[in-house]
């Protein structure tokens, strides 16, 4: 097996370099061809390496390719090295596969934009950074990818930087991520300090031979999880993701749904040995995930912006992935990551298609009845919604059920109940979105209606492909009731993720849990149907009866306002006070007074200058006479 997997990230990197340098002068057709082609080549390489991995014997360790030694300080070494094992293979396939479809879609979506080449340059750069993140074989290189995707996220959220709100959202995402990253860096430093290396294999070995104490492992796991909270938008660092919707919609699909935001989940799954060993962090992760899942779902219930509903939905689904990782079902968490990549990017791209059709309208209150105008977008949107709602036989059902079953099996009943509550709301808000957008009376802006059109083929074909995978992707990870061998996905991951201790659930219990999941999904859809199709008065009635609660949800629990009041404003007023009292008075005062002191003494000394050459020469002579006099006597 030729080791070509390390080439995967470099193809988009090369493309990004060319586009950054020459993109402006290249014709649009060529830009699209190169950007999409680079990701496709990457995908081909990833698929080829993946096939090689399938054929390799299971006891064969991970493939590691060290390109060069990057950092060498004393005993600590960090190589620029990539690792290819089942986990990174799946991630690389998702990133390049979904990424490729989104690139194609962008060709249509961004065709009128004047920053066309810049957009694709950043998109390629993002793909490179994400691939470095998932293929890195040590924490330090992973951190490079981790920051790289953060940078690209910032660049792409603020892509339309002429809009102040977009520029602000980009900065917000960047700054909130910094808070998480502080924890992440500390975690890496502690790891390096105790283990002496940040290679994943070395970390596992250190835990195996007792080099790492449990207390320290817990500390490291928590610090790294803080980083994951930032990147994956978990409580309380979730505030940046809804604002990130200011970016172009394909960016939201790629970065803020399918790939970057799942980096935290990937990191926890990658270090599953550490998290299992620490023992106490798992429940914390699960609890944060469950609270986020419910909390974000409640906010999604009342949003009117089609993309914001999807943003809160993403936060909520990321919560589910963390539930999976927290209860020890890392494979289930990654499985949900993988199915979520398909249906959530499908939903975002389909929403983008709706927005495109309505000339930029994002408010669902000015949509409705679009079903007959958008014959392609409507069915694929429906597929995505059904998949995320957890309706049986679609991908989302299998992965969400796997997580909830595992949570139940680990006796985490609180988590399980929270997860179910989140599932009802998920089904509800997705169908609320469907009904408000595609059904009911038309509330369109007359101007938008004039230009109403279905999106071009270049956008609808990727949608159809994603819809296909949203339906079928789940069949590689069937629930255990269908036989031990049904979970192909989990068994493929076994070299990286040791299967969790068996939950010892009876066959009856498992069927019962599946039944509950099904009931929950249909309950949510049914309520949405009742609220928004049958009796449209109910939501207004509820708002009228619980105005405070509605306002609380509508204003996103005032989290942004709390942060403004508790952190941002004190910082600003404090900085202004320091500016006025310290910068202006002390620093500027010191500099200015030293300047005027120099001027003052200069003025005094300048009286010595007569300007007459003869005077100078006389002093010169005197000097020489004194000099010689001293020399002689």
């Amino acid at each position: 097996m030729a080791e070509i997997f390390w080439l995967i990230p470099f193809v988009p990197a090369a493309s990004a370099l060319v586009l950054v340098l020459f993109g402006r002068r290249l014709p649009k057709r060529y830009v699209s061809f190169q950007a999409c082609g680079a990701v496709f080549v990457s995908f081909g390489l990833a698929a080829f390496s993946f096939l090689g991995l399938l054929n390799a014997s299971p006891e064969h360790g991970p493939l590691i390719k060290t390109l060069f030694s990057w950092i060498g300080v004393g005993a600590f070494k960090a190589g620029f090295s990539f690792q290819f094992d089942p986990l990174s293979a799946i991630m690389a396939l998702v990133v390049t596969g979904v990424g490729f479809l989104i690139h194609i879609y962008s060709v249509g979506y961004m065709s009128q934009d004047k920053g066309y080449a810049r957009y694709f340059a950043h998109l390629n750069l993002f793909t490179f950074a994400m691939l470095v993140l998932v293929l890195a074989s040590n924490m330090v290189l992973m951190f490079v990818g981790w920051e790289g995707v953060g940078l690209c996220s910032y660049l792409l959220i603020g892509f339309w930087f002429e809009k102040p709100s977009a520029a602000k959202a980009g900065m917000k995402a960047f700054i909130v991520n910094r808070i998480g990253d502080a924890g992440f860096v500390l975690g890496i430093l502690f790891l390096v300090m105790t283990v002496g290396s940040s290679e994943f294999s070395a970390i596992e070995a250190a835990i195996g031979n007792g080099l790492l104490s449990q207390g320290l492992a817990t500390l490291i796991a928590i610090l790294l999880f803080i980083g994951a909270c930032g990147k994956s938008a978990q409580l309380p660092l979730h505030v940046w993701l809804p604002d990130a919707m200011e970016g172009p919609t394909p960016v939201s699909a790629l970065i803020h749904a399918a790939t970057m935001v799942t980096a935290g989940v990937y990191m926890v799954a990658r270090l599953n040995v550490l998290y299992t060993f620490s023992g106490t962090v798992g429940p914390i992760v699960a609890l944060v995930g469950a609270l986020t899942a419910v909390f974000a779902a409640t906010m999604a219930l009342v949003q009117n912006d089609i993309k914001r509903v999807l943003a809160y939905s993403t936060i909520s689904q990321l919560g589910y992935m963390f539930i999976g990782c927290g209860v020890g079902a890392y494979a289930a968490g990654i499985f949900h990551l993988y199915t979520h990549a398909f249906f959530k990017s499908l939903l975002f791209l389909a929403a983008g298609s709706v927005i495109h059709a309505l000339s930029g309208e994002q408010d669902m209150r000015r949509m409705g009845g679009l079903k007959k105008y958008l014959p392609w977008t409507y069915p694929v949107f429906l597929v995505g919604a059904v998949a995320i709602a957890g309706v049986p036989f679609l991908s989302g059902f299998f992965s969400k059920d796997a997580i909830l079953t595992q949570a139940f099996g680990q006796r985490q009943y609180v988590i399980w109940v929270l997860g179910l509550a989140g599932a009802v709301m998920t089904a509800f808000y997705m169908f609320r979105l469907i009904f408000l957008t595609f059904y009911g009376g038309e509330r369109l802006d007359p101007e938008a209606k004039k230009h109403l059109h279905e999106s071009p083929k270049v956008m609808t074909v990727p949608l159809a492909i994603l819809a296909f995978f949203s339906i079928t992707a789940g069949y590689v990870g069937l629930p255990a009731v269908l036989g031990k061998k049904a979970d192909v996905f989990g068994r493929f991951l076994e070299p990286v993720i040791k299967p969790a201790a068996e939950g010892h659930l009876g066959l009856g219990t498992e069927w019962f849990l599946i039944l509950i999941s099904v009931v929950v999904a249909f309950l949510g859809i049914f309520i949405a149907h009742a609220f928004y199709l049958k009796k449209p008065g109910i939501p207004h009635g509820l708002v009228a009866r619980f105005p405070r609660f509605y306002k609380l949800l509508y204003n996103k629990y005032y989290v942004d306002e709390i942060y403004d009041g508790a952190v941002v404003n004190p910082l600003i007023t404090g900085s202004e006070w320091i500016y006025g009292h310290f910068d202006l008075k002390v620093i500027d005062g010191t500099v200015n007074s030293s300047a005027s002191a120099a001027g003052f003494f200069g003025k005094i000394l300048s009286y010595l200058q007569t300007g007459l050459v003869k005077d100078y020469a006389l002093i010169f002579l005197l000097g020489i006479v004194i000099f010689i006099g001293v020399l002689l006597f």
Binding site: Q609, K614, A617, L621
Partner: protein, 100 residues
């Protein structure tokens, strides 16, 4: 044979004359000339030294001084020319723009 001390004495007289001229005269040309006299006084001292004690290095130094003096005279005259074009004068007291 004239004793070397006579040459040294002549050298000192020339040098002092150069200094006095430099400080008493007020035009740049004369001052330049007095600098040349001082330089040549030094030359004479070196040559007297070389003659009296067979110290050949002193002769080499004289060549250097003559070269430097030639260059100095060329540049000095050029500067004086330019100053005259600007100020229509070569009196030193007319050049006081460095006064504090």
């Amino acid at each position: 044979m004239i004793p070397a001390s006579y040459f040294f004495l002549l050298s000192v007289i020339l040098f002092v004359l150069g200094i006095i001229a430099f400080f008493l005269k007020r035009d740049l040309i004369t001052q330049l000339m007095s600098v040349e006299i001082m330089l040549n006084a030094a030359n004479l001292a070196f040559l007297a030294l070389a003659k009296s004690s067979n110290f050949l290095d002193a002769q080499v130094i004289v060549f250097f001084i003559i070269t430097v003096a030639a260059a100095e005279a060329a540049i000095g005259l050029a500067i004086i020319m330019l100053i005259f074009r600007q100020k229509k004068s070569i009196k030193t007291e007319d050049m006081r723009s460095m006064k504090g």
